[in-house]
């Protein structure tokens, strides 16, 4: 029997994780704001904007994964927001604030509509249903040519405001939106709701008997997550000035899942680390796309077999090992 005074190992890991993580996060934010002032390079700025945009999508997916559901429809939700924002801005001349709100609302509504039905499913069934739903969404994008331009998409999507039309301007804009969204997700996870989510995942019948409204909770989180994905999609097409269905298909949903898994599904920092890793690696390994994908595959196998906590868990284990050896 374990000594009731000693904290279980989990909590030790969490505490160890929080303080250095907070310092690390603040440093990272400062670096993210400062580096363009040194390297005013449009290419790097575009990559930076893409990372910021994908961060919104992957951290919002993390909320869903934290509940124990792996959604393969997330890129489809991005797509819904993307097309709504592009269409309302271009055809109805909405200002960006209004069009991006419509984008978030549209994705959230779709999430709200399908949530109560699909969130009752678990594990593999949820994966399959969301994958098929993502495919249906993509097929709708392809077939509804009057609204989406079909497979050729919508070109000439305008930037949100004139001020952010340049690569530098867009980078800060995307970074700002990204920080707001990620903080929002982090706050949810740290709050009562977050604890309810964790309890629902750990022991659903027990949580339910303690009064946690499981399905309602899941639907709320799922809806919020889809709304955030919609914002991410809108930001993406305003950056590329182009919207097409291929950017929002099963492959992109898979990428978002991989970002979460490789980084670590246990904490939001995992999603962040995984996204930065997956978004920047292609630029470093430019000539070896196939090899890249083989490496991703192998990392996924290793992580799932040995280290479900991903890269973040690896860092923690190393830190624990060095801390332990320092004590001796």
């Amino acid at each position: 029997m374990s000594d009731p005074i000693t904290l279980p190992r989990q909590h030790v890991m969490k505490d160890l994780r929080i303080a250095p993580a907070r310092i690390g996060a603040s440093l990272a934010i400062v670096a993210a704001i400062a580096w363009p002032l040194a390297f005013q390079n449009p290419f790097l700025l575009t990559i930076g904007s893409l990372v910021a945009i994908y961060l919104i999508a992957s951290t919002s997916l993390h909320l869903v994964i934290r509940m124990g559901h792996i959604s393969f429809a997330h890129a489809g939700m991005m797509g819904i927001g993307a097309y709504v924002s592009a269409d309302t801005m271009m055809r109805l001349s909405f200002p960006f604030a209004l069009s991006v709100s419509c984008a978030a609302a549209a994705s959230a509504l779709v999430g709200l509509a399908i949530g109560p039905i699909v969130l009752r499913l678990t594990g593999k069934y949820f994966v399959l249903v969301t994958f098929l739903l993502g495919e249906i969404i993509r097929m709708v994008f392809v077939d509804w040519t009057s609204l989406t331009g079909g497979s050729n998409g919508i070109q000439g999507v305008p930037p949100p405001f004139a001020a952010v039309a340049s690569p530098l301007g867009y980078y800060y804009f995307a970074l700002g939106c990204s920080l707001i969204c990620m903080t929002f997700c982090g706050r949810i996870l740290a709050s009562e709701i977050g604890r309810a989510m964790d309890s629902a995942k750990e022991a659903e019948p027990l949580a339910s008997s303690c009064g946690v409204p499981i399905v309602r909770l899941k639907v709320v989180i799922f809806t919020i997550s889809c709304g955030l994905a919609g914002i991410s999609g809108a930001l993406l097409v305003h950056l590329l000035r182009y919207a097409d269905p291929a950017s929002f298909g099963g492959l992109q949903s898979l990428n978002l899942v991989i970002m979460n898994v490789i980084g670590g599904m246990g904490s939001i920092y995992g999603a962040i680390v995984g996204t930065i890793f997956l978004a920047t690696l292609p630029e470093l390994l430019r000539s070896y796309v196939e090899l890249q994908r083989v490496i991703y595959g192998i990392i996924l196998i290793v992580v799932m077999a040995a280290m479900p906590g991903g890269l973040v868990e690896l860092v923690d284990k190393l830190r624990l090992m060095t801390a332990a050896s320092r004590k001796n």
């Binding site: 390079n41 290419f43 790097l44 097929m139 392809v142 050729n152 000439g156």
Partner: protein, 390 residues
């Protein structure tokens, strides 16, 4: 793994040789974008190799003569993975990190449409390929981008005119196409060209990735068409469509206004491909093509993708424009590209620009194309056609 090494060794060998030849020549970066991984690799390699062959020729003849300097062009190509994000980031990298002034490629409308805003703003010449009219016809007026391959707006009317003359009995045609970017862009133009010639059109679209067409073909046969057009289908699907159509009992003429996919179709359908007629970009049995084929096989093996001579020619046109302009300045070179109309490009005859009526700007290269027919398992030229200048 050997496959990775050989091109590497060859690249080292070639660059040493060309470095030797180019030692008196200053370097001029030529950018390129294309799919070098995934399903579109054949076209990306066609761009890379075609342009490289043109570069080798120029260096061997003493370099690009601009004013009183000699330049050795150097190819910098990035993979766009046949996607919009890929095209955008590749264009960004080429223009702002590598500082190129001229980009050849991409292939595929999503990639081109995403790259064009970047290259137009950076005032970089873009010479691309893709079926979407928006590539040339857009708000910016395409000041710096040119389309180097006929889209079916250019070649379909000419082919159908040939059809009317040679097979007047055709009254109804069936078109089965994928609902991807190429299919959705190509079908309206194609259907219109048929209808303008008085031929009735039956269309059906399918999801990209389908391999089983027998139900759709059964549906097609029940509508009593005289002609089956494989239009913009990818080579693999075109081959399967033809094979399964014949196996389903369709015995009328099958042809393809698009592609080309002649080699793949012969490979997949075997003897069933007999009599198949197709749009083709090049006749590899021509006398003047043999040097090109030799130069290609000196560096790489395998079948030569039919787009390779097109990109080779595109690079040659760019080089001639730079030499005519006497400077590497982008706006002067762009004007020179239009001025050299009538210049003999070699494989494709005189250079002709068109597209003013369709797109509002004369930046569409009007290229000669071939109509070939499969006889005894081999392609045979039936006609060489020049698209109408409009």
């Amino acid at each position: 793994m050997i496959r990775l090494f050989r091109p590497l060794l060859l690249a080292i060998a070639v660059s040493t040789v060309s470095a030797g030849l180019a030692c008196a020549q200053e370097e001029l970066k030529i950018g390129a974008i294309g799919p070098l991984s995934g399903g579109g690799t054949a076209w990306g390699l066609a761009t890379q190799r075609g342009v490289q062959l043109a570069i080798d020729e120029v260096i061997a003849s003493g370099g690009l003569k601009v004013g009183n300097k000699a330049y050795a062009p150097k190819l910098i190509m990035y993979d766009d993975q046949y996607s919009a994000t890929g095209g955008r980031t590749a264009a960004e990298r080429l223009t702002s990190v590598d500082g190129v002034k001229y980009i050849i490629g991409p292939v595929g409308s999503p990639s081109v449409l995403a790259a064009v805003p970047v290259t137009t703003a950076a005032k970089v010449i873009l010479m691309s390929d893709g079926y979407a009219p928006g590539i040339l016809k857009n708000e910016a007026g395409s000041p710096f981008n040119f389309r180097m391959v006929d889209s079916n707006v250019e070649f379909a009317p000419a082919m159908i005119a040939w059809l009317k003359k040679n097979k007047p009995e055709v009254k109804k045609v069936a078109i089965i196409a994928p609902n991807d970017a190429v299919g959705q862009a190509a079908i309206p133009a194609l259907a219109k060209a048929y209808k303008d010639s008085g031929i009735e059109v039956w269309t059906e679209m399918y999801e990209r990735g389908t391999k089983e067409f027998t139900p759709l073909l059964t549906r097609m046969i029940a509508t009593d068409v005289d002609l089956f057009d494989l239009n913009s289908n990818a080579p693999g699907e075109a081959g399967l469509l033809l094979k399964q159509a014949r196996q389903a009992g369709f015995d009328k003429q099958i042809w393809q206004v698009g592609g080309p996919s002649v080699d793949e179709i012969i490979n997949i359908a075997g003897p069933l491909a007999e009599g198949f007629i197709s749009y083709d970009l090049f006749d590899f049995s021509k006398a003047d093509a043999q040097n090109f084929i030799k130069a290609y096989h000196a560096k790489w093996d395998g079948t030569i993708n039919a787009q390779t001579p097109i990109w080779y020619t595109a690079a040659k046109i760019l080089f001639h424009a730079i030499e005519t302009a006497g400077t590497t300045d982008v706006e002067t070179v762009r004007d020179a590209m239009l001025k050299i109309e009538g210049w003999n490009t070699g494989f494709y005859g005189p250079l002709v620009w068109g597209g003013l009526a369709e797109y509002g700007v004369n930046h569409q290269l009007l290229q000669n194309f071939w109509i070939t027919q499969v006889k005894d398992g081999k392609p045979n030229t039936l006609a060489i056609i020049t698209p109408e200048k409009r």
